[in-house]
């Protein structure tokens, strides 16, 4: 290998080298930002703040489809995928022991999968 270890000719090793994670982090970020704006607009135009109107933000249907729940599910999965990449980056940066890092990453995954189940139970009970 030549001496140049940076720039366009840098040595790139490992499977996909994080490109999917890089793109997923940004795409999920955009999805969450858009959903935030959608929810905010819904909140501003829903009229009086009461239980029915609030619930309807997440449980409204359109042509018989549970669109509110579908949007909330997509947004929440974006949150969790985004969080996985971010928290995994934190462990990769600060935890130098490979065994401890794997342990932290597994805990993170369990934490997030549990959160998805918790949220899904609430949302799809509406």
């Amino acid at each position: 290998m030549d001496q140049q270890g940076y720039g366009q000719k840098r040595l790139v090793v490992g499977a996909h080298y994080g490109t999917l994670d890089f793109i997923a982090q940004r795409v999920t970020g955009v999805i969450m930002a858009v959903y935030t704006v959608v929810l905010l607009l819904g909140f501003l135009f829903m009229g009086e703040l009461n239980y029915e109107n609030w619930r309807n933000l997440f449980a409204f249907t359109c042509l018989g489809l549970p669109v509110g729940q579908m949007l909330a599910t997509a947004a929440f999965l974006s949150v969790v995928w985004h969080a996985w990449i971010g928290v995994r980056d934190i462990w990769m940066d600060y935890v130098r022991s490979a065994g401890l890092r794997l342990f932290c990453q597994v805990l993170t995954l369990l934490w997030l999968v549990g959160t998805v189940a918790f949220f899904a139970k609430i949302l799809w009970s509406l």
Binding site: M1, G5, Y6, R10, L11, V12, V13, G14, R26, G29, V30, A33, T36, Y51, W54, R55, F58, A59, V79, A83, G86, V87, I90, W111, G114, T115, F118, F119, I122, L123, S125, L126
Partner: protein, 139 residues
Amino acid sequence: MSETASKRRPQYRNLTVPQLLIYLSRMPLAAKTSILHRASGALLFLCLPLVIVPLFGRSVTSPETFASLAEWTANPLFKLVLLAIIWGYLHHFCAGIRYLALDMHKGNDKVTAQKSAGAVIVVSLALTVVLGLKLFGVW
């Protein structure tokens, strides 16, 4: 793993907390925004199943649980937790928008990047104050 990382670099591992605080205070604004982005993300990650999802659950499950939220939020300690989450969300949102712009090569020059970093901190703190005053019943 990669040969690019094999070159030896100096390492400083005996930093004390006061030295670390001086180091943090001397960071450029963009570095502060970056570390706050990470800190706010970690905060939101921890609060997600502990506070945010349970709160969401109570707000949507039934009219009774919806009404009971007023009791939760009457607790000043809980208000502080909520305020921290509100700041975390706002900072992460604003800093995230900035990163998306930087990724598209917008505002990458030194002066603009420092200005936008300062704007992220100021805007998210200002919005936190506005929502905090609402939370504590000022308006």
